[in-house]
């Protein structure tokens, strides 16, 4: 098994070593249900699609992704195992990627457990399957970005609570910059180019564009490069902070 696979496996099974995994999945599904049916009004809208679910996914992950990522490096630093991990004969990048993929796969498991929603709308009507697939891809990408941010923050501290809170704030900012309200605020005193740039880096902008069911090249590039950049930043952060 390649080094990243070894790290990935330990990390992924680690989620199930404590009740954390079960709690996480239950909370995720419970909230997903509430958002979709009560707040999103799946039935009232009378349309066989999952928009009412997907529009809340970034807000779900806003709290749940940091809960998954807060442990990744902060725990290694608190225990001191980071000294063993980073002196094993494996590149640091493998450890970073392995841990990230474990957290990501776990969030995808949570997403996969919402598939009954899809089955429900498919049974009730004739939904646009392409749009639903795109919605799931968009959701997976948002969780990837949030976990990337969370991993990087987790590498900077020994304290999981701090890692959680800071990650929530950063993810919130990453979402917020895409909203018209926020953009209008900037529009008042920034040139249009700068406003477009702010909207361009927002997770929300690309999420909504993907969710519409059009998988556009620039959105794919955005998510891929953002995740890559965040993993790179995590790598640097560990190198910089591991002795502190």
């Amino acid at each position: 098994m390649s080094p990243w696979g070894t790290i990935f496996r330990r990390e992924f099974t680690g989620y199930f070593a404590t009740p954390l995994a079960a709690v996480f999945l239950v909370v995720f599904l419970f909230l997903a249900g509430i958002f979709t049916f009560s707040m999103g009004g799946l039935f009232e809208r009378g349309q066989a699609d999952l928009r009412s679910f997907f529009q809340f996914v970034p807000w779900l992950f806003l709290f749940l992704a940091p809960a998954l990522s807060m442990r990744l490096w902060a725990e290694e630093r608190r225990l001191g195992t980071i000294e063993i991990l980073t002196t094993l004969p494996i590149p640091l990048s493998h450890a970073v990627v392995g841990k990230f993929l474990a957290a990501w796969l776990f969030s995808l498991v949570a997403l996969a457990l919402t598939l009954p929603l899809w089955l429900t709308v498919a049974w009730l009507g004739d939904p646009d399957q392409g749009a639903i697939v795109a919605g799931y891809i968009a959701s997976a990408m948002v969780s990837g970005i949030f976990l990337g941010i969370g991993g990087c923050v987790s590498a900077a501290t020994k304290n999981q609570v701090i890692a959680f809170v800071v990650t929530v704030v950063l993810c919130f900012l990453a979402l917020l910059t895409g909203f018209p309200l926020v953009l209008d605020f900037f529009r008042g005193w920034l040139p249009q180019g700068a406003v477009d740039a702010i909207a361009g880096v927002s997770v929300m902008t690309h999420f909504t564009s993907l969710m519409r069911g059009v998988v556009e090249f620039r959105d794919v590039v955005y998510f891929a490069s953002a995740i890559y950049g965040l993993l790179l930043a995590t790598n640097l952060m560990i190198d910089w902070r591991k002795g502190a």
Partner: protein, 250 residues
């Protein structure tokens, strides 16, 4: 095999403070080097540099003939490391943890069970091998840390306070183990216990305020105490050496 560790002029600064100020260290196979010094003298920092956990501000390190900064992955294969406090993942069983380390070290899958058995027998972990690490006593946790470090039978062992917090029986056991391994490996261990140096080390290095103030055999070490001192000669020698160095203006 010959020279396994060659560290030259290691310097480590944290911001304004210099924790290590030019430490050089050469260790051959068959040597057990006891690393001594007051708290804050730079022992742990030096060991962390030897394992590549911390990058030295200046100086270089060759392990088993490989420069650590040039070929870190291969150089890291040549040592086992027991960090301060013997950290391990508390939610894993001993077997799961050692299997994880073995995989990460690239030990082939078919050999893992065999290596695990050998180490578990040698460190007397058989009774707890399927126990969760969190539930183990301090002595067993320390042994798990040692097991992790020798799993791949490395030519170099670096151990930060391997007997710290152990009871006298456990200390004796760990020392016996180190002595037995010391005939073929290059071992560097840090300790606060001066008798330990006499008991297991072939060489003692004392650092104080980030500098080496003594490098010689335990017998030479003891001779540093004046003749009229008859009891606790090593303590006396240690105090004499480290007090002088600490008075050097920073």
């Amino acid at each position: 095999m010959g020279e396994l560790i060659n560290a030259r002029n290691l310097v480590k600064s944290f911001g304004e403070t210099q924790a290590v100020r030019g430490v050089s260290l050469r260790v051959n196979a068959g040597e057990v080097v006891g690393f001594l010094g007051p708290n804050g003298a730079g022992k742990t920092t030096t060991m962390r540099m030897l394992t590549g956990f911390l990058d030295p501000t200046a100086g270089d390190i060759a392990l088993n003939g490989l420069l650590l900064h040039e070929d870190p992955i291969r150089a890291r294969q040549s040592f086992g490391y027991l960090p301060e406090g013997a950290p391990a993942y508390p939610d894993m069983t001993v077997r799961e943890y050692l299997t994880f380390i073995a995989r990460a070290r690239g030990i082939p899958a078919r050999r893992i069970a065999e290596r695990l058995d050998a180490v578990v027998a040698r460190i007397h972990l058989r009774g707890v091998v399927d126990q969760v690490i969190d539930t183990l006593s301090k002595g067993f946790k320390r042994r798990v840390g040692i097991a992790q470090a020798i799993l791949h039978d490395p030519p170099i062992l670096i151990m930060d306070e391997p007997t710290d917090g152990l009871d006298p029986n456990q200390k004796h056991e760990v020392r016996e183990l180190i002595r037995a391994m010391g005939s073929t490996k290059a071992i560097v261990l840090s300790t606060h216990i001066l008798e330990e140096v006499e008991a297991v080390c072939t060489r003692a290095i004392v650092i104080a305020a980030g500098r080496v103030v003594f490098d010689g055999t335990p017998a030479d070490f003891e001779r540093k105490a004046p003749d009229h001192v008859t009891r606790n000669r090593m303590d006396y020698a240690f105090r004499a050496m480290t007090a002088a160095a600490s008075e050097v203006p920073l």
